[in-house]
């Protein structure tokens, strides 16, 4: 029997980590993810986990220590937000290139500057091409479930890439909601033992990691990384299927909410999907055929599947909680529209930058987007695809 609880998103992440019982956790405090290492160090102090907790002096060292620990042959985890992730940036790329399945809980927050502690996705978007598998979570339940699935995905020998589970800072990290936890022994069995093939502490096989990799080899090594990311898609689906067998909770690459017969739809990630579902229900009551596509797997980007799911629509709005400052549109918009174009799906599509620096996203704002989509669906015209939602005039 699963365990019914009421937990914040950070508590849920910490409990997932406790059940995973990693060998090493290296972390540094930063709002709003600080609670995760706080809760976790309590588990360490009380002896409920076997983990060596390394209270590093910076996020750069947190990721460096995770790289060292994972390379040594242990399971390593961390948590961070915003500038913490920016400070790790160099090591984020190195972790992936060394093919180390480190798992991170990323509690999304606006990257400075100016400094702001609230939620948007500018931190995650800064590492979207770094070679990490990136899973997004609507609520505490998904943040927990994604973490439980994380190691099985990252450690699969076809993948061997680091993985981050994202959730929205404060909105879900600090909100207490109902959650269904899985029993400790079931999580332990599901996650399984870590058996790395090559590792530094194997006295039977000495290895050297992190070479100077010049013109004759680096290109092929990067190609292998690209292949690993492509392979991750099927592995994510396999692991999600096993997870569904254990819990009954179904996860795909993305969630389609009333999308099948929809005429207009929003594409978004994380907690905004919850608000959008509420608006979709309201509009459906009024007979408006609104739908939602909520991205769960952002890296690898399921381009073909998304294009297919959006192919029957009359108008689409992609919501980006991060601006790209490229005079074109946000990162999710760019990915979705290029996925559609390459797969010959031509539907009028607009982009809304929203929620920057924790600007509240209200049901009314989402409803206005659907009203705009209705107009676009009628006329087929998009006068300005790069728009803002919730911005003061």
């Amino acid at each position: 029997m699963s365990i019914r609880e009421r937990l914040s998103g950070n508590e849920a992440a910490a409990i997932a980590m406790k059940q995973i019982n990693p060998d090493v956790v290296a972390a540094f405090p930063i709002t709003p993810s600080t609670e995760i290492p706080q809760y976790f160090s309590t588990f360490v102090s009380n002896g409920v986990v076997d983990t060596e907790f390394v209270a590093v002096e910076s996020e750069h060292s947190a990721m460096s220590a995770c790289v060292g620990a994972e390379a040594a042959g242990s399971r390593a985890m961390t948590a961070t937000s915003a500038n913490g992730l920016s400070y790790m940036w160099e090591m984020i790329y190195i972790a992936s290139s060394m093919r180390l399945p480190i798992v991170m809980s990323l509690v999304n927050r606006a990257v400075s500057g100016p400094i702001n502690i609230h939620n948007d996705h500018s931190d995650a978007m800064g590492v979207r091409d770094a070679g990490w598998v990136m899973l997004f979570s609507e609520n505490n339940q998904e943040a927990y479930d994604n973490l439980v699935m994380a190691h099985r995905i990252a450690e699969n020998e076809k993948v061997l890439l680091p993985l981050m589970v994202c959730q929205d800072g404060f909105i879900t990290s600090h909100s207490i909601e109902n959650i269904e936890l899985i029993e400790d022994d079931k999580v332990k069995e599901f996650v399984g033992k870590y058996n790395p093939k090559h590792y530094l502490l194997n006295d039977k096989e000495k290895i050297a990691m992190g070479p100077l990799d010049l013109q004759p080899y680096l290109f092929e090594h990067k190609r292998q990384q690209a292949q690993a990311m492509a392979n991750a898609k099927d592995v994510i689906l396999e692991v999600s299927k096993d997870f569904e067998k254990m819990t009954g909770r179904k996860y795909g690459l993305f969630e389609e909410y009333k999308l099948e017969d929809a005429e207009i739809a929003i594409v978004c990630m994380n907690s905004t999907a919850g608000t959008t579902k509420y608006v979709v229900d309201e509009l459906r009551n009024k007979g408006i055929k609104a739908g939602l596509l909520k991205i769960r797997v952002f890296r690898p980007f399921p381009a073909k599947e998304i294009a297919e799911a959006l192919s029957g629509l009359k108008a689409i709005a992609v919501l980006d909680k991060s601006d790209s400052l490229n005079a074109v549109g946000g990162p999710l918009f760019t990915d979705v529209t290029s996925a559609m174009y390459v797969n010959k799906v031509i539907v009028p599509t607009v982009n809304y930058i929203y929620g920057i620096g924790g600007r509240d996203t209200k049901a009314d704002d989402i409803e206005k987007v659907y009203m705009d989509l209705q107009k676009i669906a009628e006329t087929g015209n998009v006068d300005n695809p790069y728009r803002y939602m919730g911005l003061r005039g």
Partner: protein, 316 residues
């Protein structure tokens, strides 16, 4: 324990093998070889290296000169990376997840750029956390790998590519950071300053103490660079000797806060002897620049006296 350092050098296989691509006359490879020789043959080691001359010359894919497990990740974080390896070892060993019960030692190597400058935060953090590791700085006094730029280890007045001896500013105008003392301030069980060539016994014994003292240890080892210092490659031994005999680079160790100077030259040589063979100090010998040699000598004298005082005070 009675031993013969010559026999050890002759009979104990080098754990950093030949075939690496460090320059002729470079002081760094003998440092790595001697430090690794201090490991008991039956002990395993994991070596971490900061980006720098030593790393890019010893591990060019698909070849490595290291016979122990080795990891390089970036420039500033050899200590942090190795602290992760050491934490994993502790964790796996405690949980009985390692296949054997032998001992594994953890050694980091970084140049002065990767240690005094960009790596000092990572080093300070790892030392403060008390990881059981030895951090070895091979100090050649500038960013040699990128082409001789000044670091905080560069001696005053040295001509480097970012502190060039010009007509207005005659080289680096700031004094060298004293990193060994910064490490002493971390209250480590073992801190030492040594040289890689000339006095092999000194480095061997200090390495052994550092490796087999539980907890974090720091070795600062002078590693002359023929390109950056501008001495003939066959002068490596002599340059090291002059650094020590002028008291520019004193050999000392600090065990639990107590200073011991391991070598006090019977006749302290004037600093010119050390400066003259090096092109980086050439401008100091031009007429009218005598003040620079005087100022350099004063700094060496002051620091030597401070060390003598520290030895006396901490052994009272």
């Amino acid at each position: 324990m009675a031993y013969n350092v010559k026999e050890i050098m002759a009979n104990k296989p080098s754990r950093l093998t030949a075939g690496h691509r460090m320059c002729a006359g470079c002081g760094a490879p003998p440092v790595a070889r001697m430090v690794l020789r201090a490991l008991k043959e039956e002990d395993n080691a994991v070596v971490a290296c900061a980006t720098g001359c030593m790393e890019v010359s010893t591990f060019i894919y698909p070849y490595t000169a290291w016979t122990d497990s080795f990891i390089h990740t970036a420039f500033e974080n050899a200590a942090a990376t190795l602290s992760g390896v050491e934490a994993a070892y502790k964790s796996l060993k405690r949980q009985g997840k390692l296949s054997n019960d032998g001992h594994t030692k953890f050694l980091a190597f970084g140049g002065d750029g990767g240690t005094y400058d960009i790596g000092i935060q990572s080093l300070s953090g790892a030392m403060e956390r008390g990881h059981d590791m030895v951090y070895v700085c091979y100090d050649n006094g500038a960013y040699m790998n990128t082409g001789i730029q000044r670091s905080s280890a560069t001696p005053r007045f040295a001509d480097t590519t970012t502190s060039p001896a010009g007509s207005v500013i005659p080289g680096k105008m700031q004094s060298r950071k004293d990193l060994a003392k910064v490490m002493v301030a971390h209250h480590l069980p073992y801190v030492a300053q040594s040289i890689g060539v000339n006095n092999f016994k000194d480095l061997y014994e200090k390495s052994e103490k550092a490796i087999y003292t539980e907890g974090p240890a720091f070795l600062n080892v002078l590693a002359p660079c023929p390109r950056g210092w501008g001495y003939p490659t066959d002068m490596l031994m002599q340059i090291n000797k002059l650094a020590v005999d002028t008291c520019y680079w004193p050999l000392y160790e600090v065990i639990d806060g107590k200073y011991t100077i391991n070598y006090k030259p019977a006749k302290k040589l004037p600093i010119e002897e050390f400066l003259r063979p090096q092109k980086r100090f050439k401008h100091m010998f031009k007429p009218g620049n005598e003040w620079m040699i005087e100022a350099f000598q004063k700094e060496v004298d002051d620091r030597w006296q401070e060390l003598l005082d520290l030895e006396e005070i901490t052994n009272k």
